[in-house]
Protein backbone atom coordinates (compact mmCIF):
# COMPACT_ATOMS: atom_id res chain seq x y z
CA UNK A 1 0.00 0.00 0.00
CA UNK A 2 2.86 2.33 0.88
CA UNK A 3 4.66 1.48 -2.34
CA UNK A 4 1.55 2.08 -4.45
CA UNK A 5 0.76 5.39 -2.70
CA UNK A 6 4.37 6.49 -3.17
CA UNK A 7 4.16 5.52 -6.84
CA UNK A 8 0.90 7.46 -7.33
CA UNK A 9 2.36 10.45 -5.51
CA UNK A 10 5.46 10.48 -7.69
CA UNK A 11 3.30 9.88 -10.79
CA UNK A 12 1.01 12.76 -9.82
CA UNK A 13 3.97 15.04 -9.10
CA UNK A 14 5.45 14.33 -12.53
CA UNK A 15 2.33 15.19 -14.54
CA UNK A 16 0.51 17.82 -12.52
CA UNK A 17 -1.03 20.47 -14.75
CA UNK A 18 -0.75 24.00 -13.35
CA UNK A 19 -1.63 27.40 -14.67
CA UNK A 20 1.47 28.99 -16.24
CA UNK A 21 2.62 32.42 -15.20
CA UNK A 22 4.05 33.58 -18.55
CA UNK A 23 5.64 30.73 -20.43
CA UNK A 24 4.03 27.45 -21.29
CA UNK A 25 7.15 25.29 -21.42
CA UNK A 26 10.80 25.26 -20.50
CA UNK A 27 12.13 26.58 -23.81
CA UNK A 28 9.94 29.71 -23.61
CA UNK A 29 11.06 30.29 -20.01
CA UNK A 30 14.70 29.94 -21.04
CA UNK A 31 14.09 32.41 -23.85
CA UNK A 32 12.78 34.94 -21.34
CA UNK A 33 15.85 34.35 -19.20
CA UNK A 34 18.10 34.97 -22.20
CA UNK A 35 16.25 38.19 -23.06
CA UNK A 36 16.73 39.35 -19.47
CA UNK A 37 20.44 38.50 -19.68
CA UNK A 38 20.72 40.55 -22.88
CA UNK A 39 19.00 43.56 -21.35
CA UNK A 40 21.19 43.43 -18.24
CA UNK A 41 24.35 42.91 -20.29
CA UNK A 42 23.62 46.05 -22.31
CA UNK A 43 22.74 47.97 -19.18
CA UNK A 44 25.86 47.20 -17.10
CA UNK A 45 28.20 49.80 -18.69
CA UNK A 46 25.50 52.48 -18.44
CA UNK A 47 25.00 51.57 -14.77
CA UNK A 48 28.72 51.81 -14.03
CA UNK A 49 28.76 55.25 -15.62
CA UNK A 50 25.52 56.55 -14.12
CA UNK A 51 26.17 55.55 -10.53
CA UNK A 52 29.92 56.27 -10.74
CA UNK A 53 30.77 52.82 -9.46
CA UNK A 54 34.34 51.83 -8.74
CA UNK A 55 34.12 48.60 -10.67
CA UNK A 56 35.02 47.93 -14.29
CA UNK A 57 32.26 46.83 -16.71
CA UNK A 58 34.02 43.44 -16.98
CA UNK A 59 33.57 42.92 -13.24
CA UNK A 60 29.93 43.93 -13.65
CA UNK A 61 29.48 41.36 -16.43
CA UNK A 62 31.13 38.68 -14.28
CA UNK A 63 28.83 39.48 -11.40
CA UNK A 64 25.85 39.31 -13.77
CA UNK A 65 26.98 35.89 -14.98
CA UNK A 66 27.43 34.75 -11.39
CA UNK A 67 23.89 35.82 -10.47
CA UNK A 68 22.50 33.93 -13.46
CA UNK A 69 24.62 30.87 -12.68
CA UNK A 70 23.16 30.67 -9.19
CA UNK A 71 19.79 29.70 -10.68
CA UNK A 72 21.14 27.55 -13.47
CA UNK A 73 19.74 24.35 -11.96
CA UNK A 74 16.07 25.45 -12.04
CA UNK A 75 13.85 23.54 -14.45
CA UNK A 76 10.32 24.56 -13.41
CA UNK A 77 8.99 27.14 -15.92
CA UNK A 78 6.93 28.95 -13.28
CA UNK A 79 9.93 29.37 -10.99
CA UNK A 80 12.00 30.64 -13.90
CA UNK A 81 9.21 33.10 -14.77
CA UNK A 82 9.15 34.44 -11.24
CA UNK A 83 12.91 34.84 -11.20
CA UNK A 84 12.74 36.65 -14.55
CA UNK A 85 10.03 38.96 -13.16
CA UNK A 86 12.18 39.80 -10.15
CA UNK A 87 15.17 40.38 -12.43
CA UNK A 88 13.10 42.71 -14.62
CA UNK A 89 12.06 44.70 -11.55
CA UNK A 90 15.68 45.08 -10.52
CA UNK A 91 16.57 46.12 -14.07
CA UNK A 92 13.82 48.74 -14.15
CA UNK A 93 14.94 50.18 -10.85
CA UNK A 94 18.51 50.32 -12.10
CA UNK A 95 17.71 51.91 -15.45
CA UNK A 96 15.43 54.57 -14.01
CA UNK A 97 17.90 55.37 -11.21
CA UNK A 98 15.44 54.63 -8.46
CA UNK A 99 18.26 52.75 -6.76
CA UNK A 100 21.39 54.33 -5.34
CA UNK A 101 25.03 53.35 -5.43
CA UNK A 102 24.76 51.41 -2.18
CA UNK A 103 21.93 49.26 -3.52
CA UNK A 104 23.94 48.29 -6.59
CA UNK A 105 27.04 47.57 -4.55
CA UNK A 106 25.01 45.22 -2.36
CA UNK A 107 25.36 42.73 -5.21
CA UNK A 108 29.09 42.79 -4.62
CA UNK A 109 28.85 42.48 -0.89
CA UNK A 110 30.21 39.21 0.46
CA UNK A 111 27.42 37.60 2.40
CA UNK A 112 29.37 35.52 4.85
CA UNK A 113 32.89 35.36 6.19
CA UNK A 114 34.75 32.31 4.96
CA UNK A 115 35.64 29.85 7.69
CA UNK A 116 39.39 29.29 7.80
CA UNK A 117 40.52 25.85 6.67
CA UNK A 118 44.29 26.09 6.36
CA UNK A 119 46.53 26.12 9.40
CA UNK A 120 47.73 29.70 9.24
CA UNK A 121 44.26 31.28 9.02
CA UNK A 122 43.08 29.11 11.91
CA UNK A 123 46.15 30.15 13.90
CA UNK A 124 45.41 33.82 13.29
CA UNK A 125 41.86 33.23 14.43
CA UNK A 126 43.13 31.70 17.66
CA UNK A 127 42.80 27.95 17.17
CA UNK A 128 46.11 26.28 18.15
CA UNK A 129 45.70 23.04 16.28
Amino acid sequence: MMASSAATRSGAAAFKAVKPIFSRDLSEARRRARELYRAWYREVPNTVHMFQLDITPQQGHEKLREMFDRNRHVTDPRVIDLLVIKGKMELEETIKVWKQKTHIMRFFHQTEAQRPDDFLSKFYQGHDA
Binding site: R31, R34, E35, Y37, R38, Y41, R42, R65, F68
Partner: protein, 157 residues
Amino acid sequence: MASRALAYCMRSFARSTARLNHGNAFTRYACAPLVSKQRALGVTPCSQRTRWTELVRISGPSVHLCRHYGDLPPLTLGNIEERVMYVLKLYDKISPEKLQTSSHFMKDLGLDSLDQVEIIMAMEDEFGFEIPDAEAEKLMTPAEIVQYIADKKDVYE
Protein backbone atom coordinates in the same frame (compact mmCIF):
# COMPACT_ATOMS: atom_id res chain seq x y z
CA MET B 1 20.37 56.15 -80.36
CA ALA B 2 21.78 52.68 -80.22
CA SER B 3 25.28 54.04 -80.67
CA ARG B 4 24.72 56.48 -77.78
CA ALA B 5 23.59 53.63 -75.56
CA LEU B 6 26.60 51.61 -76.72
CA ALA B 7 28.93 54.51 -75.92
CA TYR B 8 27.33 54.80 -72.49
CA CYS B 9 27.91 51.11 -71.89
CA MET B 10 31.53 51.41 -73.00
CA ARG B 11 32.01 54.39 -70.73
CA SER B 12 30.70 52.52 -67.70
CA PHE B 13 32.77 49.44 -68.59
CA ALA B 14 35.91 51.57 -68.94
CA ARG B 15 35.20 53.33 -65.69
CA SER B 16 34.67 50.11 -63.84
CA THR B 17 37.84 48.57 -65.24
CA ALA B 18 39.78 51.75 -64.51
CA ARG B 19 38.67 51.32 -60.98
CA LEU B 20 39.59 47.66 -61.20
CA ASN B 21 43.17 48.65 -61.88
CA HIS B 22 43.63 50.97 -58.98
CA GLY B 23 40.67 50.36 -56.73
CA ASN B 24 40.21 47.79 -54.01
CA ALA B 25 38.08 44.69 -54.07
CA PHE B 26 35.04 46.42 -52.63
CA THR B 27 34.54 48.81 -55.52
CA ARG B 28 34.90 45.94 -57.91
CA TYR B 29 32.11 44.09 -56.18
CA ALA B 30 30.05 47.25 -56.05
CA CYS B 31 30.54 47.88 -59.76
CA ALA B 32 29.74 44.33 -60.79
CA PRO B 33 25.96 44.43 -60.20
CA LEU B 34 25.78 48.00 -61.48
CA VAL B 35 27.71 47.16 -64.63
CA SER B 36 25.37 44.26 -65.28
CA LYS B 37 22.47 46.73 -65.34
CA GLN B 38 23.98 48.43 -68.37
CA ARG B 39 23.85 45.16 -70.26
CA ALA B 40 20.51 46.03 -71.78
CA LEU B 41 21.87 45.44 -75.26
CA GLY B 42 23.67 42.28 -74.24
CA VAL B 43 26.89 43.94 -75.30
CA THR B 44 29.69 41.92 -73.77
CA PRO B 45 29.82 39.30 -71.03
CA CYS B 46 31.78 39.90 -67.85
CA SER B 47 34.74 37.79 -68.91
CA GLN B 48 35.53 40.24 -71.69
CA ARG B 49 35.75 43.12 -69.24
CA THR B 50 39.52 42.86 -69.12
CA ARG B 51 39.78 43.56 -72.85
CA TRP B 52 38.53 47.08 -72.25
CA THR B 53 41.50 48.00 -70.08
CA GLU B 54 43.37 49.44 -73.08
CA LEU B 55 40.51 51.80 -73.93
CA VAL B 56 41.22 55.47 -74.06
CA ARG B 57 39.53 57.53 -71.38
CA ILE B 58 36.11 58.72 -72.58
CA SER B 59 35.38 62.24 -71.54
CA GLY B 60 31.95 63.63 -70.89
CA PRO B 61 29.43 63.70 -68.11
CA SER B 62 30.23 60.70 -65.96
CA VAL B 63 27.91 58.86 -63.68
CA HIS B 64 29.80 57.80 -60.58
CA LEU B 65 28.65 54.28 -59.89
CA CYS B 66 31.10 53.34 -57.19
CA ARG B 67 30.81 56.11 -54.65
CA HIS B 68 29.90 55.06 -51.09
CA TYR B 69 28.97 58.54 -49.77
CA GLY B 70 30.00 57.79 -46.23
CA ASP B 71 28.45 54.33 -46.23
CA LEU B 72 30.42 51.24 -45.32
CA PRO B 73 31.95 49.11 -48.09
CA PRO B 74 29.36 46.70 -49.46
CA LEU B 75 29.11 43.35 -47.73
CA THR B 76 30.33 40.17 -49.37
CA LEU B 77 30.25 36.63 -48.03
CA GLY B 78 34.03 36.64 -47.56
CA ASN B 79 33.95 39.98 -45.81
CA ILE B 80 31.18 38.86 -43.45
CA GLU B 81 33.04 35.68 -42.60
CA GLU B 82 36.25 37.65 -41.93
CA ARG B 83 34.50 39.98 -39.53
CA VAL B 84 32.65 37.15 -37.76
CA MET B 85 35.87 35.17 -37.21
CA TYR B 86 37.67 38.33 -36.07
CA VAL B 87 35.03 39.06 -33.44
CA LEU B 88 35.09 35.43 -32.29
CA LYS B 89 38.86 35.47 -31.94
CA LEU B 90 38.61 38.53 -29.73
CA TYR B 91 36.25 36.71 -27.35
CA ASP B 92 38.28 35.55 -24.41
CA LYS B 93 36.48 32.28 -23.74
CA ILE B 94 37.37 30.93 -27.18
CA SER B 95 40.90 29.77 -27.97
CA PRO B 96 41.77 31.01 -31.48
CA GLU B 97 43.56 27.78 -32.46
CA LYS B 98 40.49 25.60 -32.05
CA LEU B 99 38.20 28.01 -33.84
CA GLN B 100 36.98 27.09 -37.30
CA THR B 101 34.02 28.03 -39.43
CA SER B 102 32.19 24.84 -38.61
CA SER B 103 33.03 24.54 -34.92
CA HIS B 104 29.91 24.17 -32.81
CA PHE B 105 29.84 26.56 -29.84
CA MET B 106 28.44 24.11 -27.34
CA LYS B 107 29.87 20.79 -28.52
CA ASP B 108 33.29 21.74 -29.90
CA LEU B 109 34.19 24.90 -28.04
CA GLY B 110 32.52 24.03 -24.73
CA LEU B 111 30.54 27.25 -24.29
CA ASP B 112 27.12 27.46 -22.70
CA SER B 113 23.92 29.23 -23.71
CA LEU B 114 24.76 32.52 -21.98
CA ASP B 115 28.12 32.58 -23.79
CA GLN B 116 26.25 32.04 -27.04
CA VAL B 117 23.98 34.98 -26.18
CA GLU B 118 27.06 37.14 -25.60
CA ILE B 119 28.51 36.09 -28.95
CA ILE B 120 25.27 36.97 -30.77
CA MET B 121 25.24 40.34 -29.01
CA ALA B 122 28.80 40.96 -30.20
CA MET B 123 27.65 40.16 -33.74
CA GLU B 124 24.76 42.61 -33.35
CA ASP B 125 27.23 45.31 -32.30
CA GLU B 126 29.57 44.48 -35.18
CA PHE B 127 26.99 44.49 -37.98
CA GLY B 128 24.64 47.08 -36.53
CA PHE B 129 21.27 45.32 -36.65
CA GLU B 130 19.13 43.46 -34.12
CA ILE B 131 18.98 39.70 -34.09
CA PRO B 132 15.82 38.49 -32.28
CA ASP B 133 16.30 35.81 -29.70
CA ALA B 134 13.97 33.31 -31.39
CA GLU B 135 16.36 33.11 -34.34
CA ALA B 136 19.51 33.73 -32.36
CA GLU B 137 19.15 30.60 -30.27
CA LYS B 138 19.49 28.46 -33.40
CA LEU B 139 22.81 29.95 -34.53
CA MET B 140 25.33 27.52 -33.16
CA THR B 141 28.28 27.69 -35.55
CA PRO B 142 30.10 30.62 -37.20
CA ALA B 143 28.99 29.32 -40.62
CA GLU B 144 25.33 29.59 -39.57
CA ILE B 145 25.91 33.14 -38.32
CA VAL B 146 27.47 34.12 -41.65
CA GLN B 147 24.55 32.54 -43.52
CA TYR B 148 22.00 34.34 -41.35
CA ILE B 149 23.65 37.73 -41.80
CA ALA B 150 23.93 37.15 -45.54
CA ASP B 151 20.21 36.30 -45.65
CA LYS B 152 19.27 39.39 -43.71
CA LYS B 153 21.49 41.74 -45.65
CA ASP B 154 20.73 40.24 -49.09
CA VAL B 155 24.32 39.26 -49.84
CA TYR B 156 24.69 36.50 -52.40
CA GLU B 157 27.36 35.27 -54.75
